[in-house]
């Protein structure tokens, strides 16, 4: 089998250039979709019969939560590729996913708490989704902490890759176990988060937001990954050519 295409595609200068070209194609649609989705969600969608206009927080909460999980999955997949094929570019992608994912985990947590205040009367109850999101934040912080604790950049890449893979196996287990824990302890009257009676006029803006956040994530990741590639390829000749321009 001929692998040269793979190596050419996977070569850092090629991907560096490609990422630069692709970024605007993700960034601008992301901006448009997020603005459109926000307008649709906040102004056009009808209020929920039970939660009133309070449910509109879901238009920022759910996409943030989605992004936080997606970033972790990407991070682990890129880490696995980097570990198996010793591919620097994949490690660069994994390294760029972590801060983005961590920030949107914070966004999901804070918006969830803001939803909780009027619905539960307090900012924090041990809702299973919020709890799982909190554990996810700790996983991100552990990953970032391990990365920054190892001085040798290649070792940092590879060690954090192992952690990301172990973590991604754990994420669904955490989700499930937290649900199980909640089902045992929960008082039945408490309203669960994020389940308004969904209708199409409500759902459409939400789907737009999901697509917008996905594109946003890719755009952010591409910008960061270009920087991470430069950091890993300092000694290469192509970097001095690119930088000199």
């Amino acid at each position: 089998m001929d692998w040269t295409w793979f190596h050419r595609f996977g070569s850092p200068p090629h991907l560096y250039g490609l990422a630069g070209k692709l970024t605007p194609w993700f960034a601008w649609p992301a901006a448009l979709l997020i603005l459109a989705g926000l307008y649709g969600g906040l102004a056009l969608a009808p209020p929920d019969y039970q939660q009133g206009d309070g449910f509109r927080i879901i238009y920022v909460h759910a996409p943030s939560a989605w992004l936080s999980l997606m970033a972790y999955t990407w991070m682990a997949a890129a880490a696995a590729i980097g570990l198996v094929w010793r591919m620097k570019v994949a490690h660069a992608v994994a390294a760029s996913c972590a801060p983005i994912g961590a920030w949107f985990t914070v966004a999901a947590l804070c918006t969830g708490m803001l939803w909780g205040k009027p619905m539960w009367g307090t900012y924090w109850v041990w809702d299973p989704r919020l709890t799982a999101e909190l554990v996810l934040l700790f996983l991100y912080l552990g990953y970032i902490g391990l990365r920054s604790a190892i001085e040798d950049p290649q070792r940092a890449d590879r060690a954090s890759a192992v952690l990301a893979i172990v973590g991604v196996v754990n994420v669904p287990i955490v989700r499930y176990s937290v649900e199980w824990w909640n089902s045992i302890h929960q008082a039945p009257s408490v309203m669960k988060f994020g389940k308004p009676s969904i209708s199409w006029p409500m759902l459409t803006p939400l789907l737009i937001m999901f697509v917008g956040f996905t594109l946003l994530f890719v755009a952010l990741m591409l910008v960061r990954a270009r920087g991470e590639i430069l950091r890993r390829e300092r000694q290469s000749r192509w970097v001095s050519e690119v930088v000199a321009q």
């Binding site: 206009d53 983005i100 910008v223 960061r224 991470e228 970097v239």
Partner: protein, 53 residues
């Protein structure tokens, strides 16, 4: 308009949530560009250092 702004009484939750998410998006855009610019500046510094002597 005022009805839209008051969010049916949920304004104190909805608008902070939207503002916070928006802030985090903007911050991430800024941080990503900064991180790239820093890596580029670092690489440039290194190249000029190698060419100097």
């Amino acid at each position: 308009m005022s009805g839209f702004l008051s969010m049916g009484g949920y304004a104190s939750s909805v608008w902070p949530a939207v503002a916070l998410t928006f802030g985090i998006i903007v911050w991430n855009v800024v941080a990503a560009r900064r991180s790239f610019a820093a890596a580029r500046a670092e690489a440039r510094r290194r190249v000029s250092m190698e060419q100097a002597p």
